[in-house]
């Protein structure tokens, strides 16, 4: 009997074959080309010696199959190679589907991308009904779409509306939802998983089809209408210029329909095209940047159970609520109950959004402990300070709490402007203090800057990153320097936008130039959303420490109490929380010029930050800006974009802008270092 590196075949007494996927040298199963080749051989073998039934299952505790091997994507050099890889997989899956015996995918944990496509090529699917079970086709996030026949089979299985919802958003669903959609045949607890498989093998039922009205959307007359509807939805989130994949998927479906086998061929061709696009390459890059950030959080193995947040303002309260959502017990402390109460209210709203089942919501609420008397402090594994940005207040707090906390508790501050070193002076063990700089809104923003002061120990920095990872955030190690990475880089970009406002460029034109470049939100709207008072405070601090001027217009707005969205008026006026924007605003500056001024100031600051070693390397600048600000992911990050545009070209433009607009565009000395590396 042949042995396989990644698969283990067992045949039981009843003649059923159980095929265990156990990818060698990995903790997660991925469909590497090697694993796929072996699967192909196995399927051939099943065709020759037909088992009574076949169950495909995973031997990994984490899940079924996490998808294709993204690492292999980066090695694809030409279209031929891409098409080969895709068509081989498609062939295997076709032969799997055509096995005349009943076949089942037994799914637990992650079942994503190629993994779900494999499962769809089986006759039946049985999923473990647990929160950890997630099914989905997230390919769209890598700038492609399902390519192993998944788009065809998913539409055939659950109908076009739901299939497109999954494919275009890339969102995953749990086992129960999958059962409701008909994506899986059974969603059962672990004790029934094998029983359900056996039952299906022994009494294979007719394979399920979606309801007639769902099938209707796949017919030739309806397809163009529905496709148009889909395009209109997608265009709001992903303009075709930057993100071609969703449109390619909709197009090929409209042309062929999932009822015809021609769609398989078209799907393969389309993915082969997409995988080589700049967008896809950059999104794959973003995928690895994310993995790299996660890696920072895996070095330390502290089992965090309880957190404690001091300062129940918006940031503190939301950090605490998020900890609770992520399963930690958390004390939320402030001077008196009246300061804690609003945080409790916001937390309850978050729990209601995050947990649909009553007992889960109650449990999250129970973990969230309002603690005005600071009784929970001594039980916390991590203490996060989030009180007002006042050096003395923070120092006093740390001085007081050092003797009450657990000896191995991590001490963290959420400060965005006070140097860690100055705070650490208050501590007897200054090496314990780290910065955990969260972004607003906490529940949405993935990035946490893990700030390391001069005296912070390596172990504490690693522990802080592990904590960020534990609560589902992406830790970015930064050096304690004014504004760290994100605020520092963002500020010149925002200030340039305000300067243009002063020059008479309409807010709408500025924001449009930025969003057209690929930013999730224009700088003016962003400033309004963050709050102009907060922008001004940060700008003041940064300009004091780094030089530069704060535009007068910003000061005027703040002194006029027009603080942005929260006061109903800032740079925009707001109606029911929505900005009143003019459709066609005449701009004295062409869009390219606006974009250039915004982006070049941002790039210049990125180079400065890199030169000062605020983060380790250019990739981390990119990671920070993408996950901290949503910087156009399809561009792969600002530094990546800069290199694509050419270091010399950018420098020349900066110099030209300096001539025209003055010192603020003067290239940072960091460019020198960059040029050396570039050569």
């Amino acid at each position: 009997m042949t042995t396989y590196r990644h698969w283990r075949l067992e045949t039981d007494g009843e003649g059923f074959a159980w095929l265990h996927f156990d990818h060698a040298d990995a903790s997660t199963n991925v469909l590497s080309s090697e694993a796929l080749a072996e699967l192909g051989e196995l399927i051939d073998r099943f065709h020759r010696h037909l088992p009574r039934g076949l169950v495909i299952l995973s031997a990994k505790s984490k899940g079924f199959i996490a998808g294709a091997d993204v690492r292999e994507f980066t090695r694809i050099e030409n279209r031929r190679q891409a098409l080969d890889l895709i068509q081989t997989a498609q062939r295997h899956f076709h032969r799997l589907e055509r096995l005349p015996c009943p076949t089942i995918a037994r799914i637990h944990g992650f079942c994503l991308g190629g993994g779900l496509e494999l499962a769809l090529a089986c006759h039946y699917r049985v999923a473990l009904e647990e929160p950890g079970t997630r099914l989905g086709v997230p390919e769209i996030r890598l700038g492609i779409h399902p390519g192993f026949g998944g788009s065809v089979r998913l539409i055939r299985r659950i109908g076009a509306p739901k299939a497109f919802e999954m494919m275009l958003s890339g969102r995953t669903i749990d086992a129960r939802t999958a059962r409701r959609l008909g994506l899986v045949d059974h969603a059962v607890p672990e004790r029934h998983l094998d029983r359900a498989c056996r039952h299906l093998l022994q009494h294979p039922p007719r394979r399920k089809r979606p309801a007639w009205w769902l099938r209707l959307s796949d017919t030739a007359p309806v397809r163009p209408l529905f496709a148009e509807l889909l395009r209109r939805q997608v265009v709001k989130r992903a303009p075709p210029k930057h993100y071609p994949a969703p449109y390619a998927l909709i197009d090929l479906w409209q042309r062929h329909g999932a009822g015809s086998d021609a769609m398989f061929e078209a799907e393969a061709e389309s993915v082969a095209d997409l995988i080589l696009t700049e967008t896809s390459r950059n999104l794959v890059r973003v995928f690895f940047l994310r993995e790299r950030l996660k890696g920072h959080g895996r070095k330390d193995k502290t089992p965090f159970e309880q957190a404690h947040v001091i300062g129940a303002g918006v940031m503190g309260g939301d950090i605490a609520a998020w900890c609770s959502v992520q399963g930690l017990k958390v004390g939320i402390q402030d001077r008196a109950p009246e300061y804690v109460a609003p945080a409790v209210q916001r937390a309850w709203r978050l729990f209601a959004r995050k947990f649909k089942r009553g007992h889960e919501r109650t449990a999250a609420g129970d973990r969230f402990i309002p603690d005005p008397k600071s009784l929970q402090l001594g039980r916390a594994d991590v203490v996060i300070e989030a009180i007002i940005e006042n050096l003395e207040a923070k120092r006093n707090l740390f001085r007081d709490l050092e003797s009450s906390v657990k000896s191995d508790a991590l001490l963290a501050t959420n400060t965005s402007s006070i140097p860690l070193e100055e705070l650490a002076e208050a501590l007897r063990q200054p090496e314990r203090l780290v910065g955990l700089h969260f972004f607003n809104p906490v529940a949405k923003m993935q990035l946490v800057e893990v700030v390391r002061g001069v005296r912070t120990s390596e172990a504490c920095a690693a522990k802080a990153a592990a904590f960020a990872h534990r609560i589902g955030k992406l830790p970015l190690p930064v050096r304690s320097a004014p504004g760290f990475l994100v605020n520092r880089v963002l500020m010149p970009y925002l200030m340039e936008a305000v300067i243009m406002l002063e020059e008479g460029v309409p807010a709408e034109a500025i924001d449009h130039a930025a969003t057209d470049f690929g930013m999730p939100m224009g700088p003016i709207l962003l400033a309004d959303t963050v709050g102009l008072d907060i922008c001004l405070a940060v700008a003041d601090i940064l300009s004091r420490q780094l030089g530069g001027e704060v535009p007068t217009l910003l000061r005027e707005k703040v002194s006029a109490k027009q603080l942005g969205r929260k006061t109903g008026k800032g740079f925009y006026a707001y109606k029911r929380g929505k900005p009143v924007a003019r459709k066609h605003a005449e701009s004295p500056l062409p869009q390219e010029a606006i974009e250039e001024r915004l982006i070049l100031r941002l790039l210049n600051e990125c180079v400065a930050v890199l030169g000062e070693k605020v983060v380790e390397d250019a990739d981390l600048v990119d990671a920070g800006m993408i996950f901290g600000t949503g910087f156009a992911p399809f561009r792969g990050g600002p530094m990546h974009y800069l290199k694509k545009r050419g270091i010399e070209a950018c420098l020349n433009r900066l110099e030209a802008l300096t001539q025209r607009y003055g010192e603020r565009f003067k290239p940072d000395k960091g460019w020198e270092g960059l040029k050396c590396v570039g050569q």
């Binding site: 017990k329 449990a363 309002p370 008397k373």
Partner: protein, 435 residues
């Protein structure tokens, strides 16, 4: 001497800490917290400040008269939610208004007997969450509807429906009504007022004093250590017993109409305890546990008695229970420094005082050759009682024990006696000693 009159024996039992929620006045709709929510939020700060872990308790005992439908064995529900862990057993006790005191007594007995070393015990009640039930006719009709399969059966069943089926049963009113004598608690207070000649003026004056005393204790911050604030999901917080009326006058009280005997009665909403939600916990420990964890001792639980009497005069429960307690501990009333008599009704507390001092009553009812004596108002409910604080039925027993221990500490008293009347015709009394 009968066996019933043997004092508690065995190892000493200490109370080392305790906490409670504020008592929240019911406003006619379910309050923001269920009984288990209340008990949880009282427990969290209490457990956090202990030098031991919550899973080191030997057991958790909670008194609750009407747990919600999701709170069967509410003690276990709270123990798990508070993080005591799966291995700590928990059980619920029910003795109506005595439930909270029963929980403490049960814990004390197990410690005295050497079966437990460290016990979390208390009481909780969310009276505003008392269920509203379908009546019997409606339940029967629903059952038949379930069985009716054919259309004709269903139509016939539908025709049987009467609007009267929808008349609800108010769980709280039933719970406060004695089923054997058919009297709601307020009427038993009316009976006592009549028997002992308690006047409306006396009652109202007593009620005013209760409010004033509680208000003073609040103003002086003497309850701050006892009460843990509550936070609801709507951005509100509660840090004091909110039924208190510091400015209540005799005129205002006199203007209130009797609630139970509507025409000629004396018992009003103003001179009765308030319908409220709340929870209280105490931590009881053996000497060994006190040493092991180096715990601060608040006081000692010396003894506890329970007595039965005519349900129609249940308000005299404290007299019977206290008499038996004092007798078997060979104590005179003057040796008790401070008293907490739960204020179910002003009439009932005043009747108890009169009964204790009444020679005939003490001879005929208690078999004593002398009256037990008098309790000066300077020694009784010195920080007010249930008329001002509220009377969450299952909680009150635990609350008065906790508060009396604080009083003994604050005022350097030696012995304290906490006692309450219990719907159904019982009384409970607990003797506490400052250590």
């Amino acid at each position: 001497m009968t066996t019933r009159n043997l004092p508690m024996r065995g190892r000493p039992v200490y109370v080392i800490d305790g906490s409670r929620t504020p008592c929240l006045k019911a406003r006619g709709v379910p309050g923001p917290f269920t009984a288990s929510d209340l008990a949880l939020r009282a427990a969290q700060p209490l457990l956090a400040r202990q030098p031991f872990e919550p899973h080191e308790f030997d057991q958790v005992i909670l008194g609750c008269a009407i747990p919600g439908p999701d709170e069967a064995n509410i003690a276990r529900v709270v123990a798990l939610r508070a993080g005591c862990g799966k291995a700590v057993p928990a059980w619920t006790v029910q003795r109506n208004c005595g439930s909270g005191m029963q929980a403490i007594d049960s814990a004390a007995r197990d410690i005295a007997a050497g079966r437990s070393g460290l016990v979390l015990a208390g009481g909780a009640e969310a009276m505003s969450h008392a269920p509203v039930l379908f009546n019997q006719a409606m339940v029967t009709w629903l059952g038949q509807w379930q069985r009716a399969r054919r259309l004709s059966d269903r139509l016939r069943q539908l025709a049987q429906f009467r609007l009267s089926h929808l008349a609800p049963i108010i769980g709280l009113l039933r719970g406060l009504t004695d089923p054997t004598v058919g009297l709601i608690m307020g009427k038993t207070a009316e009976i006592l007022a009549w028997r002992f000649g308690v006047s409306r003026e006396e009652m109202d004056a007593f009620a005013r004093q209760s409010h004033r005393r509680l208000a003073a204790a609040q103003a002086e911050g003497r309850l701050a250590d006892e009460i843990e604030p509550l936070f609801d999901g709507g951005g509100e917080f509660y840090d004091h017993d909110n039924g208190v009326r510091p400015d209540v006058t005799l005129e205002k009280l006199a203007a209130l109409k009797p609630v139970f005997d509507r025409d000629f009665g004396l018992v009003t909403a103003g001179n009765s305890s308030q319908v409220t939600d709340g929870a209280a916990w105490l931590i009881l420990a053996s000497e060994e546990a006190v040493k092991r964890y180096d715990l601060n001792v608040m006081g000692q639980i010396v003894d506890c008695t329970w007595a039965g009497l005519d349900p129609a005069q249940m308000g005299l429960g404290p007299v019977y229970a206290s008499a038996s307690l004092l007798q078997r501990q060979r104590l005179g009333m003057d040796q008790i420094d401070f008293w907490e008599i739960n204020e179910a009704f002003a009439a009932q507390v005043l009747a108890c005082l009169k009964a204790l001092a009444d020679e005939t009553f003490c001879r005929e009812e208690l078999g004593l050759d002398h009256p037990l004596g008098e309790i000066g108002h300077d020694r009784l409910n010195v920080d007010g009682g249930a008329i001002a604080v509220g009377h969450p039925v299952g909680m009150s027993g635990a609350r008065i024990v906790l508060h009396l221990l604080r009083i003994l500490q604050q005022k350097q008293g030696d012995l304290g006696l906490a006692t309450l009347c219990i719907g159904g015709g019982q009384g409970g009394a607990m003797l506490l000693k400052r250590v």
